[in-house]
Symmetry: C2
Subunit: 143 residues, 2 copies
Amino acid sequence: METQDIRNAGLKVTLPRIKILEMLEEQSDQDRHLSAEDVYKRLIQQGEEIGLATVYRVLTQFEAAGLVKRHHFEGGNSIFEFNRGEHHDHIVCVKCGRVEEFSDEVIESRQKEIAKNLDFSLTDHSLCLYGICAHCRTAATQP
Amino acid sequence: METQDIRNAGLKVTLPRIKILEMLEEQSDQDRHLSAEDVYKRLIQQGEEIGLATVYRVLTQFEAAGLVKRHHFEGGNSIFEFNRGEHHDHIVCVKCGRVEEFSDEVIESRQKEIAKNLDFSLTDHSLCLYGICAHCRTAATQP
DNA sequence: TTGGCTGCAAAGATTTTGCAAATGG
DNA sequence: CCATTTGCAAAATCTTTGCAGCCAA
C-alpha cells in the first residue's frame, strides 16, 4: 500500500499524495516517465481537484524521500519516475519520445573505476542515450 | 581564427559572436562550462555591451552549427561548452560544482551495443557522474 | 543598399512561494 | 485541536520573441 510509503517518508497521508503516488506506480512500462504537467493533466482527467503547485510540491517531497526519481532529459523540464529500487538508465527516441530502460553492469563498474581514478566519491550518475527507435525508422521509410 | 568558424556556420561575423566564441574557447580546463547567464556576466565585466537575449540567440545558433555543446546537468538550466570535436563525458562535484572531463572506450562501445540490442539507431548520449571531489572531502573533515 | 543582427522590453514556459482555508492524526 | 497541507494567485527563473534601429557584406 502506498499509504505506508507516504507515512515512512514522514508525510501525512493525504488524498493528493495518494493519487499522485498511485499514478506513478501504475503507469505501464511504456509511459512511466511523467512531467509535473503530465501528472497534473491526468489528475484533472480523473476528476481530481488538485492544483499544479501541489503536484510540484508533492513530487519534490517524494523525490527527497527517495520515492521517486527526477530526470533531466533533453528539454529543460523535469521528468519524474517511481523509484522501484532497481537502478537503471534510459534510452529515449528523439522522434516519438518513447523511453526504454536498461542497465548494464559493465558500464556501472567502469563508472566506479573512473570516479576512483579522478578521486571523486560517487553519489549518483545519469546516463541517457538518444536515438531513433525501430518504429520511427520504419515510419520514415514508408510514410 | 574564430572568424572562420562563424562564417562557416553561415552567420555574419559580428562583435557579439566573436566575443562569445573567444570566451568559450579561452576558458581554462577548470571552468569551461558556462551558462548563458555566466557568459553574459563575463561579457559585462569585460565592458562589452551585449544583451542577454543576444547571448541566448548566439549560443543557440552556435549549438545548431555544432560549434558548442549544450548540457543539461542537474539544475534545470543549460550549460554550454565549446566543441573541440573530441567526445567526452563529465563528472561534477555536487559540493563545489567543479567539472572534470573523461572519456572511456569501454563505456562507449557498451552504449553502441545496448542501442543495437534495443533496436535504436544511436544519435547521441549524455553521461554525467555526480560525486564529491577530493578537495571537498578534505574541506569537510577539517573545517 | 539591404538582409541579417542587436538591444530592449515584453511574453512564454516552468517551477516556487505566500497566504488563508481545509484537513489529517 | 493544531501543525501540515492545499489551492490559488503572484512571484521567481530561465529562455524566447517582437520590433525598431544598426551593421556587416
